[in-house]
C-alpha cells in the first residue's frame, strides 16, 4: 500500500509529467487533457503500485509515456510514432534513474564535440542523420560513420 497521497504525488510530479507532455504534444489544450488523464490513471492504479517492482518516479514516467503513446495512436492513427516513443522495444527500467542520466552526461562530455552533437541531435531531438548531415554541412556517409563511432565510444565509456 503506498504511503503517499494522490495530492502529494500531484504536488511532486505534475511539473515533470507536464514537462514530458509538453516536449511531445504541441497543442496546449491536448497537453492539459493528457495531464488530467495521467493523474486519473495514477489515482485509479495507485493501490496496485508495487514499490518493489519499480520506483514511484519510474512508474509515473511509464504511465505518462503510455498515455502520450495512446494519444498519438488515437489522434494520428496513420502516422508512424516517433522513434523514441516506439513501444516495439521494452523499456529497460534499469536505465530509468537519475544516476544513469548523470553517467550518460559524463560519457557524452568525454566524446569529441562533433560526436556529442550528433548523439544529442539524433536521440534527444530525434533528427534523422540526413538532417544532421545537412545542418553540419557534411555528407550523409560522414555523419553515419561518426554516429557509429560515437555509439562505439559511448558503449565503451558506459561499460566501465
Amino acid at each position: 500500500m503506498p504511503t503517499v497521497s494522490p495530492e502529494q504525488i500531484y504536488a511532486e510530479y505534475s511539473g515533470k509529467v507536464m514537462g514530458y507532455i509538453r516536449a511531445r504534444v504541441r497543442n496546449k489544450a491536448d497537453a492539459e487533457d493528457l495531464l488530467s488523464d495521467v493523474f486519473e490513471k495514477i489515482i485509479r492504479k495507485l493501490d496496485g503500485f508495487d514499490p518493489e517492482k519499480a520506483s514511484l518516479s519510474t512508474w509515473i514516467f511509464t504511465v505518462t509515456r503510455n498515455t502520450v503513446i495512446d494519444h498519438f495512436r488515437r489522434s494520428r492513427p496513420s502516422e508512424e510514432l516517433d522513434e523514441n516513443l516506439s513501444d516495439d522495444t521494452e523499456l529497460d527500467e534499469d536505465l530509468l534513474n537519475t544516476e544513469s542520466l548523470t553517467e550518460l552526461a559524463t560519457a557524452l562530455r568525454k566524446l569529441p564535440q562533433q560526436l556529442m552533437d550528433i548523439v544529442v541531435l539524433r536521440y534527444y531531438d530525434g533528427k534523422p542523420l540526413t538532417e544532421i548531415a545537412r545542418m553540419m554541412n557534411l555528407s550523409y556517409g560522414a555523419v553515419k560513420l561518426r554516429h557509429q563511432n560515437a555509439i562505439m565510444l559511448l558503449k565503451q565509456s558506459l561499460a566501465t
Binding site: 496546449k28 542520466l101 552526461a105 557524452l108 556529442m116 552533437d117 555509439i151 559511448l154
Partner: protein, 68 residues
C-alpha cells in the same frame, strides 16, 4: 545501445537531470535548436505555415499609398 540512448533521452524529458540538460543545452546553443515554449508552439499551430520575409525599404509606404 541505440535503444538505451532512446530510453535515456526520453526519460530526460521527464526527469530533467541537470548534468545531462547542461550537455543538451550546449549542443542546442551551437546548432540553434530551440525548444519552443507551449505558448510559442500554440502560436505556430495557430499561424500554420508562416510566410515571413523581410520588409523591403519603402514597401509599407507604397502599400499605404495604394490603399489611400
Amino acid at each position: 545501445m541505440e535503444n538505451a540512448l532512446r530510453t535515456m533521452f526520453d526519460y530526460q524529458k521527464f526527469e530533467s537531470n541537470p548534468a545531462l540538460q547542461s550537455v543538451i543545452d550546449s549542443v542546442h546553443s551551437r546548432w540553434s535548436v530551440k525548444e519552443l515554449s507551449m505558448d510559442e508552439m500554440e502560436f505556430v499551430n495557430a499561424a500554420g505555415t508562416p510566410d515571413i520575409r523581410p520588409i523591403k525599404s519603402g514597401e509599407l509606404d507604397r502599400d499605404a499609398n495604394r490603399k489611400s
